[in-house]
Symmetry: C2
Subunit: 188 residues, 2 copies
């Protein structure tokens, strides 16, 4: 998606450790107009797949997911990163390795809101090593729901998390796919 690629080139900053800083428009300050265009693109890609539930993960996936859900006319459910006393009862859970923070954390969704009749589209801001996406996909599988695919804003293709998941048959559509960030130069 050219609009997103141009924005990454204009405002993205490459930091040490393969970190792409896009917090002026994507995951700290959020440009909801851009999100609206991204949502339309996700709908162009997945609009014929009878999606009835969008699944994302807190925190920075939530904004894109909500605006995408408006276009798909369906609710969003976001996986939480730790068990809070506000989620009672049965949950599906998966372990995720954090690229940004290091370490491992649990993600959970309530069994009440992810059910076997659901046709689920996963939406997230980043795909790097694929750990979050793998965890989200396993929640969908545990619920017995149908996983339509994943819509990702930015895929760091050089980290190859997407490759492995695609080989397993998951349909992943990334709006900007970064081939390389060597020497601070972003290439799609």
């Amino acid at each position: 998606m050219r609009l997103l690629e141009e924005r990454i080139l204009r405002d993205g900053k490459v930091r040490d450790g393969n970190v792409l800083k896009v917090d002026s428009f994507l995951n700290h300050q959020m440009d909801v107009k851009l999100f609206g265009e991204m949502a339309k693109e996700f709908f162009r890609l997945f609009g014929n797949d009878q999606v009835n539930q969008i699944l994302t993960i807190e925190a920075s996936g939530i904004g894109i997911a909500c605006i995408t859900a408006q276009v798909f006319n369906c609710p969003v459910i976001f996986a939480k990163k730790s068990k809070t006393k506000n989620i009672a009862g049965d949950v599906y859970t998966a372990k995720v390795d954090s690229f940004t923070h290091g370490g491992t954390y649990d993600i959970i969704v309530s069994k009440e809101y992810l059910v076997s009749s659901d046709r689920v589209l996963i939406i997230d801001d980043f795909l790097a090593n694929g750990s979050a996406l793998t965890g989200l996909a396993s929640l969908v599988k545990d619920a017995g729901a149908t996983l339509i695919g994943a819509g990702i804003a930015i895929e760091k293709a050089f980290q190859h998390g997407g490759d492995a998941l695609r080989e397993q048959g998951l349909r992943i559509e990334s709006l900007a796919k970064i081939k390389s960030m060597e020497n601070g130069k972003i290439e799609f």
Copy 2:
């Protein structure tokens, strides 16, 4: 706002410890159509105040804030709950007591995205003891920005966090204001 009150009465569940569980439509699964109606109501209340930045806090404020920002035609910035390596450089910070999780945590926003010319509307899902809102307001103050007010989905008025902040001159508009939840019965 009658639509939200009716939804709380229909789907909200009162749990021990003054917890109101609204995670079927507000803060786990999210009804973005309802958020759209709430956004219009926030715009009716604050639409003449030249808001150019919406400030919220991760995670469950983000969805409502993004959809509200579409109506206000402005970006959202969300305060993060801990310092990640994706936020470099200078940040404004405040301490917040957690009602849901217990304990205290730091919230931060990058100085880059909250500046003295900003006219800020705070949006959040809950107002209970007022600690998150107090923290967010102090970030705005530290930035030298203008705090227009706060738009809250659900205020637990019996916890009185809103009273103290209103006495300090903050304009708070809550779409549903719960007077009491005694014996599991919600009264507005």
